[in-house]
């Protein structure tokens, strides 16, 4: 298929199309009332991007294992003697390889369907031109990130993804809760971003300056050298620094992918439109974190310590987030917690050394998670509430939605042959095969296993609450109805993918696509139900979860936990989300802000106080001087003396002492 492979060099068209869409809709959207304020234009561009995305993925799948790198030098630093023999440059370029092709497919498919679905879902909202423009930019940023060929460009798009998510989560910015959720998402992921930046910096420092990695830095952090990926093992470098660099990258990924302890922002990000949630949870924002981990794992490699840490974060988050999903009554929040939990599985897989398996789960998850969100959106669109306890009996008026949600739920719960089963089973099997690596792998493996049961329980609790029974518990709700074809097509399409995307694993070409992504790094991939016993247990857990949900909530039943029950404190703990948000707010208010205020205090009172002391001294020296000058200026003069003394202490005492300690430059 040499003919089709030519498309791989044109992958940049995908982000470019979406940028054009952003510009066109942003500039002209408000004047295009007939076209849903530019919505249909955005759909058109997203469709074109989808075509390119599918062609790229097809070209890569039909002859797997191609690395097509196109790049231009952005700017260059000259070589300097000794420390920097090869100089350094930043490049702008695209790299299409098995993993970016896979991701490009996910983002363009989900992006297009969400865009189409928005046409009806958002119809009654204000500010639609802004919405479609921002959504276009969001997709541009994400697809740009996916095909970035170097770490710096990756970071650039990463930040752009963050900014777009800030805008979109805060879309209903008149609502204080939405504005605050947007800010929270921005701030929390910002913590991760700073860590990511430090991580890049450390990789730069260790690989650029300390040994054979010099070529890598000189080339501008690119992931590939011709058609060979750069590999950590080949580059050397100080292993302690590399471990710290890996931890920083993990921090960045944890921020974006809402992993413990930076998970708090994602459930609150529900304040944005449901379509945005679908996009964020399935294909864009949170996927970026896992993608970063996978790319780093494949191209740069993690040290064993990092891997253990990643396994721990992933495994723990999987369970931790699932427990919170069990008690919530907001349909979107339940799905949000499930996203955090599922991302935990992906992180776990990367940590255990199976980056491609993690990406396989990302691939299947994108479809069934988008499906769940759009189905939930369909419900919300129809009856105008997100409270599960007000819903009920919706399966009759909304057959397609009910079926779609059920398919998504079965995929999420890991029931074969739905998509989630294949990828989740691969992860569990993979981690199982690595249990000998370190004894600490065990507890996190068990947590991840236990989460299978919780997952099946909470998602079917939501299904039974919303769709089973005779009718809504809140009789004031409007009569439910299915949306038009614009909303149904994405639901049906994603339902098909929620079944079929997992089965792709039986296609040899898809297998070798995953193999080629991972095989180059020398990591044995795991495919299919390698261990039947393991699969049996996980499916049994899943079915048990569904049965429990049916027992407690099926047929319109509502289970009320007795007030005297031992589980009440646990329930309260879960409802309050382990008090994490309260804690962070406290740290933010009392910690960060008070440091700033303390600095202000020092500036105003301590320094000024000292200054006033000097001032009195000056005043005593010359009453006359004081009469000419304003008090404030004599403050400054005293300030000068204080500063002078400080500089001389630094210059004459501190600096020579430090020079003695560390030696000359």
């Amino acid at each position: 298929m040499a003919g089709l492979s030519g498309i791989l060099e044109w992958a940049f068209l995908v982000p470019l199309l979406m940028v054009i869409s952003f510009v066109v809709v942003g500039l002209a959207g408000t004047r295009l009332k007939r076209l849903e304020y530019g919505g249909w234009i955005a759909v058109l561009f997203a469709g074109a991007a989808l075509v390119v995305g599918v062609l790229v993925a097809a070209a890569e799948m039909l002859s797997p294992g191609q690395y097509v790198n196109v790049q231009y030098t952005w700017f260059q630093l000259p070589p300097a003697a000794g420390t920097f023999p090869n100089g350094f440059r930043l490049v702008a370029g695209t790299l299409v390889d098995p993993i970016s092709a896979l991701m490009l497919l996910v983002v363009t498919v989900v992006g297009f369907l969400v865009m189409l679905y928005s046409i009806e879902y958002m119809h009654h909202d204000r500010g639609l031109a802004r919405y479609y423009a921002e959504l276009s930019l969001f997709l541009a940023a994400m697809t740009g990130l996916v095909i970035a060929n170097n770490l710096f460009e990756f970071f650039l798009f990463w930040e752009l993804v963050g900014v777009c998510s800030y805008f979109l989560i805060g879309f209903y910015y008149e609502k204080p809760s939405a504005a605050s959720a947007a800010k929270e998402a921005f701030l929390v992921t910002r913590v991760g971003d700073v860590m990511f930046l430090l991580g890049i910096f450390l990789y730069f420092y260790t690989y650029a300056l300390a040994g054979p990695g010099n070529g890598w830095a000189a080339s501008g952090f690119v992931f590939t050298n011709g058609n060979q990926p750069f590999l950590a093992g080949a580059m050397g470098g100080n292993s302690t620094l590399l471990t710290v660099a890996g931890i920083m990258i993990l921090g960045g990924a944890a921020g974006k992918s809402a992993q413990f302890p930076l998970h708090v922002w994602l459930p609150d990000a529900m304040e944005g439109p449901t379509t945005v949630s679908a996009l964020i949870h399935a294909a864009t924002m949170v996927a970026a974190g896992v993608y970063l981990l996978a790319v780093t794992s494949l191209f740069l490699g993690f040290t064993a310590t990092d891997q253990l840490l990643i396994v721990a974060i992933g495994g723990f988050t999987t369970f931790f987030a699932a427990t919170m999903a069990v008690v919530h009554s907001d349909i979107k929040r339940v799905i949000a917690y499930s996203t955090i939990s599922q991302l935990g599985y992906m992180v776990l897989a990367v940590g255990a050394g199976f980056a491609m398996v993690g990406l396989f789960h990302l691939f299947t998850h994108a479809f069934f998670k988008a499906l769940l969100f759009l189905a939930a959106g369909s419900v919300i669109h129809a009856i105008g509430t997100q409270d599960l306890f007000k819903m009920g009996g919706l399966r009759k008026p909304m057959r397609i939605t009910a079926a779609a949600f059920a398919i998504g739920g079965l995929a999420l719960a890991g029931i074969p042959p739905f998509a989630g089963f294949w990828s989740k089973d691969d992860i569990l099997g993979g981690v199982y095969s690595q249990l000998g690596t370190h004894p600490l792998y065990w507890p996190f493996f068990l947590l991840a296993f236990a989460a299978v049961f919780l997952t099946a329980y909470y998602i079917f609790r939501a299904w039974f609450l919303a769709f089973s029974g005779d009718g809504p518990r809140d009789p004031t709700l409007p009569h439910a109805h299915e949306g038009s074809w614009v909303m149904q097509v994405p639901l049906i399409g994603l339902s098909a993918l929620a079944v079929g995307s997992g089965l792709l694993i039986f296609w040899p070409n898809f297998q070798s696509l995953l193999l080629n992504g991972a095989g180059a790094a020398g990591i044995p991939p795991v495919f299919g139900p390698t261990d039947l016993a393991l699969s049996g247990i996980s499916v049994t857990l899943g079915v048990a979860g569904i049965l429990l949900a049916w027992r407690l909530w099926g047929n319109g039943r509502v289970y009320v936990l007795p007030e005297s029950s031992w589980a009440q404190p646990v329930r309260r703990l879960l409802l309050n989300r382990y008090y994490f948000k309260v804690g962070y707010d406290w740290i933010g208010q009392r910690g960060v802000y008070s440091v700033a205020r303390a600095a202000d205090f020092v500036d105003q009172f301590v320094i000024d106080g000292t200054v006033h002391g000097f001032e009195r001294m000056f005043a005593a020296l010359s009453e006359r001087l004081r009469r000419i000058q304003s008090g404030v200026v004599s403050d400054y003069a005293a300030y000068v003396v204080a500063g002078l003394i400080a500089v001389f202490v630094l210059l004459l005492l501190v600096a020579p002492y430090l020079v003695t300690l560390v030696g000359g430059a």
Partner: protein
């Protein structure tokens, strides 16, 4: 040497001097309108800028070159008061650019404004002093040149004579400036005592071998303090915020975009030579009768740099007024620039120079924009900018680009300069890596206060819509912005700045390459 070949290289300076005198002459004969006087200032600075760019070797303008090629970057003879270095010429270009933009923008002020000849005349005069700083190669010449520009700026700050805040600011600046000049000259006299010369090239030739250790250290110490005032380094920054806040905003644009950089370049000139006095090996820097001056100065300047950017950033975070926030942000930017000389390698100087170049467009233009917006009746608080981005999208986007560039967001010039600067610090290894880390963390911190302005501009409803028009609740701006924009001059200045921010951000190589080459020569000649 005939007069022509002596005076030729000074054509830009002569042009500015003539411009100043001509403007004052216009005042005497009664031509006082902003447009006419301003046009003279714009013309002379623009023309001088073209000469300097030609001297830098920009081929299409080669016919305007005034300095024979052999005189640029020639090794110092140890006697001359001045020397033409390509880095110095780049700084001349930066200074002229700042003045050019400020004069251009000031054309848009009401034509009946009193004091236009004084404003433009002093502006050009101050710029003349700055050009002289850029070619100085002798301590006394350098400090006198700084005085020329300082005296003009004191008057500039208070030129309106009506506003007590401006007058107070001018008074403060004068007292502090006089004090700092005294300290600088005292330091220079100590160095003269130690080295027997005030010529910078001669001091560089003597190297670490000569000099009386105590006098050398004290001399450089006083110079650090004296120049730290000009460059607004912490803890000598306190005057700057009051002055930036109190001065007429167009003057503030000049102070932040132009005259402050004089202090930074003076640091380059004075401290490059001693920083290159390195004695290898460990142990006390005072061992064997000589001093390893380099590391001591580098650590001192490095600490000042970190202190300046951190304190500037933290205090900027707390400001409620736009001008004060920008003023503190200026202080923190001075910290980044100081990294260049603390590291002292050619790439680091190049990074700092690019940062200074960028700062003209980011901060200078930001103040120009604030001045224009203030003329619309928008108040001094950051909250007064509510909804500006939605009411005036072009102005909002321009301001946003400047702030994003200040924050160092990629695809803006601010990103390129910070990247070059920090990677140079990494490249120098050793404890300089920490300067880069401090710079990175500070950049991340600074995003918060810039982002706050963006949020206010684009995501918050204008206060005027919340309250009935004319109500003084919240002390905010007018319910209706006046029709029309900033006026052509100001709009053009801001447009130039925005184009530069984006163009150099996307395609930095031409500017970056020129600056890198100049920095290489500067270090090679200075060593």
């Amino acid at each position: 040497m005939d007069l022509g070949s002596f005076a030729g290289p000074f054509l830009p300076e002569i042009l500015l001097l003539a411009g100043t005198l001509f403007i004052f002459l216009l005042d005497v004969v009664g031509v006082r309108s902003t447009e006419r006087v301003g046009a003279v200032a714009v013309a002379v600075t623009g023309l001088a800028l073209l000469f300097v760019i030609a001297d830098l070797g920009f081929a299409p303008l080669a016919f305007l070159a005034t300095i024979p090629a052999g005189q640029i970057d020639a090794a110092g003879t140890g006697s001359a008061l001045y020397a033409f270095t390509s880095l110095g010429l780049i700084f001349q270009a930066v200074f002229l650019l700042a003045t050019f933009l400020v004069s251009l923008a000031s054309l848009s002020r009401p034509s009946q404004d009193r004091g236009a000849p004084i404003f433009f005349g002093l502006l050009v005069l101050a710029t003349l002093g700055m050009l002289l700083v850029a070619i100085a190669s002798d301590l006394v010449f350098l400090l006198l040149a700084i005085e020329v520009t300082s005296l003009a700026t004191y008057l500039l700050v208070g030129y309106t004579r009506k506003d007590p805040r401006s007058l107070e600011a001018a008074m403060k600046m004068y007292v502090i400036g006089a004090l700092s000049t005294t300290l600088s000259f005292f330091g220079a006299s100590l160095l003269y005592g130690a080295y027997g010369t005030t010529n910078l090239a001669a001091i560089a030739h003597v190297g670490g071998a000569g000099g009386v250790p105590v006098l050398v250290l004290l001399g450089y110490g006083f110079l650090i303090v004296g120049l730290a005032f000009k460059a607004t380094l912490v803890p000598f920054h306190a005057w700057a915020v009051d002055v930036y806040d109190g001065a007429p905003t167009d003057v503030t644009a000049f102070l932040a975009g132009g005259s402050k950089k004089v202090g930074i370049f003076a640091f380059f000139l004075v401290f490059l030579a001693p920083i290159l006095f390195v004695r290898t090996g460990t142990g006390s820097p005072f061992a064997n009768g000589a001093i390893a001056l380099g590391p001591i100065l580098q650590i001192t300047l490095g600490v000042l740099a970190v202190l300046t950017m951190t304190v500037g950033n933290i205090l900027a975070l707390l400001q409620k007024e736009m001008k004060r926030m920008l003023a503190y942000s200026s202080i923190s930017q001075a910290g980044y620039m100081l990294i260049g000389i603390a590291v002292g390698t050619a790439p680091a100087l190049a990074g700092a120079t690019l940062q200074i170049f960028a700062h003209v467009f980011m901060k200078g233009a930001a103040f120009l924009l604030v001045a224009g917006v203030t003329a619309w009746g928008i108040g001094p608080l950051i909250d007064d900018y509510r909804g500006l981005g939605t009411r005036r999208p072009v102005v909002g986007v321009a301001f946003a680009l400047m702030l994003l560039s200040l924050a160092g967001v990629p695809l803006t010039i601010g990103f390129v300069s910070k990247f070059v600067l920090f990677s140079a610090a990494v490249q120098a290894q050793g404890y300089f890596v920490w300067l880069a880390v401090a710079g990175l963390l500070n950049s991340a911190l600074s995003v918060f206060y810039y982002a706050r302005v963006l949020r206010v501009m684009f995501f918050e409803e204008p206060a005027a819509e919340k309250f009935p028009a004319g109500a003084i609740v919240g002390g905010s701006g007018p319910s209706e912005l006046p029709a029309g924009g900033f006026g052509y001059g100001r709009a053009a200045a801001i447009a130039i700045a925005v184009i530069a921010i984006v163009a150099v951000g996307i395609y930095p190589q031409p500017v970056l390459g020129a600056i890198q080459a100049a920095a290489q020569h500067f270090v090679a000649v200075g060593a």
